[in-house]
C-alpha cells in the first residue's frame, strides 16, 4: 500500500490536476494544464505523462474527449505527498479561539466548535465529545421519582452533567436513598470518573440488600454515562452544507449522506477508524468502506485533548473534491483551539 513512486514531473502534473479540478469542478485537460501551470513542457508531453498516470489509476477520464479527474487513489497520493501543512492566518486562529473561549460548559463548547468548524470549512462538521479519563466526579445526586425509580444525576468537574434513570427491583424508602446518596458522595466525589465505578461498587458490596442494588446501578450509570457517554455526545454543525451546489449530482446521494449523518454510531465509528491511521487523518471516497453511500465523500479528522490521555475527535465530512490542505489546516486549528478552551474550562 506504500506510495507509488512518480518522477517529479508526473507528480507535478498530478498535483496540478487535483488543484485544478478542486478549484473549477471540471475535468482538466492537457492544454489548460500546459497553459495555466507553467510546467515548462508542452501539452503533448503532458499527455504522455497523463497516460501513465491513468495507467497507474491515479486519474481517470469521465469519458473520451474529456479531461482527467483525480481518482480516490489520486487524491490519496496528493494528500500523502503534502509536505508542509498549511496554516490558518493568525487572525483566523485568534478569531476562532475568541469564539470558543468563555463557553459556559462542555456541551456548549462542543456545540460552538461544530458551528465554527463548519463555517470555516463550509462542510458538515462533526465533534465527538472527549473521553473523560481525567475528569473527576464532582457530585452525584439521587432523586426519587417513583416508588421503583430513581434518577441519578452525575456532575463532573468540567460542568458536564449526565443523568440516568435507575429502575429498582424493589421499592426503597426515600430515607434509604438519601443515605445511599450520602455514602456515595462521601466515597466517590473527587475521584476520576474512570475509577469511580469500581469504588462505588465496593461501597455497594458492604451495603444492605436494597441499597446495594441501588448503588450497583449507580456504578453502572457512571460507567455508561460519564466514562463512555451515550449517543447524545456528538455534535453536528452545518449539515446544510451537504446540499451545497456543485458537489453532488443526484439528490439521492445527498439523501444518503444525510441518513448516514443521522446515525451517530456510524459517525463515531468513522471518526475512530480514521484516527487509527494517524492523527490528522484523511479518508477518501472508497476508503470509507463499508459505508458505500459515502463513496463520493471524504472526511478529515483530528483528535484533540491534552496529550496522551486525551481523545476526543472532530472532523468534517465533505465531497472527495475538497481542498485538502485548507481543510486539514482548518481542522487542526479548530482542534487546537478546542484544546485551549477545554483547558480553560477544566482548569479554572
Amino acid at each position: 500500500m506504500g506510495l507509488v513512486v512518480l518522477d517529479e514531473r508526473k507528480a507535478a502534473i498530478l498535483k496540478a490536476i487535483v488543484q485544478g479540478y478542486v478549484r473549477d469542478g471540471e475535468p482538466v485537460g492537457s492544454k489548460r494544464l500546459a497553459e495555466d501551470w507553467n510546467l515548462g513542457v508542452s501539452a503533448a508531453t503532458i499527455r504522455a505523462d497523463m497516460a501513465a498516470l491513468e495507467e497507474a489509476e491515479l486519474i481517470a477520464q469521465p469519458h473520451t474527449s474529456a479531461g482527467r479527474v483525480p481518482t480516490d487513489k489520486g487524491y490519496r497520493y496528493f494528500v500523502d505527498s503534502l509536505s508542509e501543512t498549511a496554516q490558518l492566518s493568525v487572525e483566523q486562529r485568534a478569531a476562532l479561539e475568541g469564539l470558543l473561549l468563555g463557553s459556559s460548559d462542555l456541551e456548549e463548547l462542543l456545540r460552538r466548535t461544530s458551528s465554527v468548524l463548519s463555517r470555516l470549512t463550509r462542510f458538515a462538521a462533526v465533534v465527538a465529545a472527549p473521553r473523560l479519563d481525567r475528569t473527576r466526579l464532582r457530585h452525584i445526586e439521587l432523586v426519587t421519582l417513583g416508588p421503583n425509580s430513581v434518577l441519578a444525576v452525575m456532575i463532573a468537574d468540567t460542568g458536564q452533567v449526565e443523568k440516568r434513570m435507575l429502575d429498582l427491583g424493589e421499592a426503597l424508602m426515600d430515607h434509604d436513598v438519601q443515605r445511599a446518596r450520602h455514602a456515595l458522595n462521601e466515597a466517590a466525589a473527587g475521584l476520576r470518573v474512570t475509577d469511580a465505578p469500581d469504588v462505588i461498587a465496593g461501597v455497594a458490596a458492604g451495603a444492605p440488600h436494597g441499597v446495594r442494588e441501588l448503588l450497583e446501578s449507580v456504578a453502572d450509570a457512571v460507567r455508561g454515562g460519564l466514562v463512555s457517554p451515550p449517543g447524545a455526545q456528538i455534535f453536528v454543525g452545518g449539515s446544510a452544507n451537504i446540499a451545497d451546489a456543485g458537489y453532488f449530482e443526484r439528490l439521492e446521494q445527498v439523501r444518503e449522506v444525510y441518513e448516514t449523518l443521522e446515525q451517530q454510531v456510524l459517525v463515531l465509528g468513522l471518526l475512530r477508524a480514521a484516527l487509527e491511521a494517524g492523527d490528522p487523518a484523511v479518508r477518501i471516497g472508497e476508503e470509507l468502506r463499508p459505508l458505500a453511500e459515502l463513496a463520493a465523500c471524504s472526511i478529515v479528522v483530528a483528535s484533540y485533548g491534552a496529550g496522551a490521555d486525551s481523545v476526543g475527535s472532530l472532523g468534517v465530512l465533505g465531497p472527495t473534491r475538497m481542498d485538502y490542505p485548507r481543510t486539514l489546516a482548518a481542522v487542526q486549528a479548530v482542534a487546537s483551539g478546542l484544546e485551549k478552551a477545554l483547558a480553560e474550562l477544566t482548569g479554572s
Copy 2:
C-alpha cells in the same frame, strides 16, 4: 379570508386535483380527471369548472398545455373542507404507543417521538419540549467549579435536568455555597417551576450579601432553564427525508430548508405561530411567510400535554405537495401517544 364558496362539483374537482397531484406528482388534466374519478360529467364540463377554479386562484397551470396544479390557496381550501379527520389504524396507534412508553426520561421520550413521527410520515419531524408549568422542582444542586463560578443543576420531577453556569461577582466560600444550597432546597423543592423563581428571590432578599447574589442568579437560572428552556429543547428527526426524491427540484431549495431547520429559534417560532390559528394546525407554502425559503413547504403542527396547561408542540415539515389527511392523522396520533407517555413519566 373566509372560505370561498364553491358549488359541490367544483369542490369535488378541486379535491380530485389535489389528491391526484399529491399521489402522482404530475399536473392533472381534465381528461384523466373525468376518467379516473367518476364525477359523472365529461371532460369538457370539467374544463369549464377548472377555468373557474383557476380564476379563483385555487389551481394553476405550470404552463399552457399542462394540467393543473393546486395553488397554496387550493391546498388551503382542501384542508379546510376536510370534514372528518382520518385516523390511524388501531395497530399503528398501538405500535406507536409501544415505542413511546417506557422511555427513561423526558429527553429520550422526545427524541423517540421525533423519530417515530418522521418514520410515520416520511417527513422531517420536529418535537418541541413542553413548557413545564405543572412541573415541580425536585432539587437544585450547586457545585463550585472555580472561585467565581458555580454550576447550578436543576432537577425536575419529570426527570428533566438543566444546568447553568453562574458567574459570581465575588468569590464565595464553599461553605456558604453549601448553606445556600440547603436553604434553597428547603424553600423551593416541590414547588412548581413557575413559582420557584419568585420564592427563591424571596429567600435571597433575606440573605447576606454574597449569598444573596448567588441566590438571585439561581432564581434567574430556574426561570431561564426550566420555565423556558434554551435552544436545546427541540428535537428534529428524519431530516434526511427533506432530500427525498420527487419533491424539490433545485438543490438550492433543499439547502435552504436545511439551513432553516438548523436554526432552532426559527423552528420554534414556526410551531408557535402555527398553533395560534387552531390546534391541529396546517400552514401551507406562502402562509409560512416571512420564511420565504419555505415557500415550497408546509407544516402540520399539533400541541400535546394535559389539557389546558399543556403546551408542548410537535409537527412535521414537508413539501406543500403532501398528503394532508394522512399527515394530520399521524401528527395527532403521535401527539396523543406522547401525551400518554408523558403522563406515565410524570405520574409514576
